[in-house]
Amino acid sequence: MAKYLLKRLFYLILTLFLIATITFFMMKLLPGTPLSNESKLSHSQIQMIYHTYGLDKPVWQQYLIYLAGMVRGNFGLSFQFDNQPVSYLLATRMPASFQLGIQAMIVGVLLGIIVGGIAAIRRNTWVDGTMTIISILMISIPSFVLAILLQYYIGLKAGAFPVAGWGNFSYTILPTIALAGSPFATTARFIRTEMVDVMSSDYIELAKAKGLTSTGVVYHHALRNSLIPLITLIGPLTVNLMTGSLVVENIFAVPGIGEQFVKSITTNDYPTIMGITMMYSVLLVVVLLITDIVYGIVDPRIRLQGGQS
């Protein structure tokens, strides 16, 4: 286990290093400079500004400074947004994004388990059909369309929840629903397949033969065994939530990372783009590592395979 962990940590650091390097040199490839439009500046003024941002040093020095800074959580200064440090900018925006992401994950996964489970138990009936249609709909409706529809029909027309902004809990409800659509549908489909699989296995037959009630069989055996592989879904779901948060936060004007990312992309704020890129990568890499370890603990069969390879 310790050897496995060390190996994983090594790959984790290698991955992050590669991403950091690639992002840095891609940003250097970009034509123009942040100041190329400001023709009114004199040459010495431009040099001064370059000096402030460290852009007058050779590229390899900039690269080393950038790497060294990143290790300490310093992503440089933002080109836009009042020259705040990127790390500060991100820190102020993290809580909103995390709250939305976690809420959406919980709501989506719980609902998905319930819906997928019911569909599996009532397999090949109209209940199953309806549940399948709902989950296909939720997979097929892009989060930004769902968000706009929710905002207009539930927020504005029905006036049930605040239309946009960030404040008390009620502000989080509509964005959470919009974000939860994709994890919900993915979980529901996954759980249905898993449970159908588990329900046809021998130990379920045995449990039934023992005389357990059907709820007992479903709760103690079928559901529990289907939940374990669900852990592997957490990584992909995190990616889905990141993608969704970009547009959903934008539509509901949530002061989160996703909204900041879109703003930085449209204003060519490269240090912030790099910072958010790194943050997303670190988040995903860590989530993947944790889910792998947890999965290994919960299901010893996986650990054995992992140790051999």
Binding site: L137, I141, T243, I265, L284
Partner: protein
Amino acid sequence: MAENANVSNDAFEPLGKEEHLDNEKIAAPSLTFTQDAWRRLKKNKIAFISMWILLAVLVLSLAGPLISPHQPNNAQPAYTNLPPKIPGVHIPGLDGTKAVDGGRVDAYQQQHVPSGKYWILGTDYLGRDLLSRIIAGTRVSLAVALIATLLDLTVGVGYGLISGWRGGRTDMIMQRIIEILSSVPNLVYMILLLVVMRGSLLSISLAIAISSWTTMARLIRAESLTLKSQEYILAARTLGESSWKIAWKHLIPNMSSVIIIQTMFTIPSAIFFEAFLSYIGIGIQPPTASLGTLISDGQKNFQFLPFQMWYPAVVLMVIMICFNLFADGLRDAFDPRSRE
């Protein structure tokens, strides 16, 4: 009992000598793999209908320049934001009226549109015909999806085949590369690439393909590892067949179902990402229409002219739903075990 015993021998008729030979005969015609899958697909009504809808969408978008009533990028400042109007139809929403303060006003009269002119799905904020833009936009979205999928297919299948077939150290290194690549959020690749390359049809397809080929490569590698140890591959190798020929003649045909199914799931996700990237403004650049840019444009006026977002959004959703349903049906058709 006694009565039964009275049946005389005449009641029985001896079988012909040849007839028992038919017992072994296979009654149903033998089907190839594709025919069998097609038969199963036809039984799945939902998937079959989805397939026809998709074909219709494809034909409509390809025939777009011939059938669209107006030029998709032709702005007419005099006729902006007109609601849909179909002559002879008097359903609110399709008769050229729009809701103003609870009542409905004929927008065409208000803006002094000549009586012969009409726009079936209305016009956008620059006076461009929405129907023509949706047709053109669908074509762009489908083109992005198809190019991305094609790239994904070539790279993914090639990489997976080499990795699985060569095995050993090559396989180990190639798998480590995939592991590293797939622990980067695909969003990050796409956005970085598009920030550097600027959105165009090709760059978006490339960005989508780069972030999705690893799944295909993994599937193909696993598949070629299993196929590699089959006897017919061993036979082909013993007979001195080259690796290329084995890959073309044996490996790829035997993986076709995996490849087709994975492709069918890649296309809707490519369509989604195109719409997503165009929506946040780094995908297809205006004035070119794509479903994403149309939704993004329509959203600005959603409160007053909801149709401007609804129509492209509905087209996008229908395409996505049909692709997902069709892919599901296809998977069941190719792999009956998954349905069970």
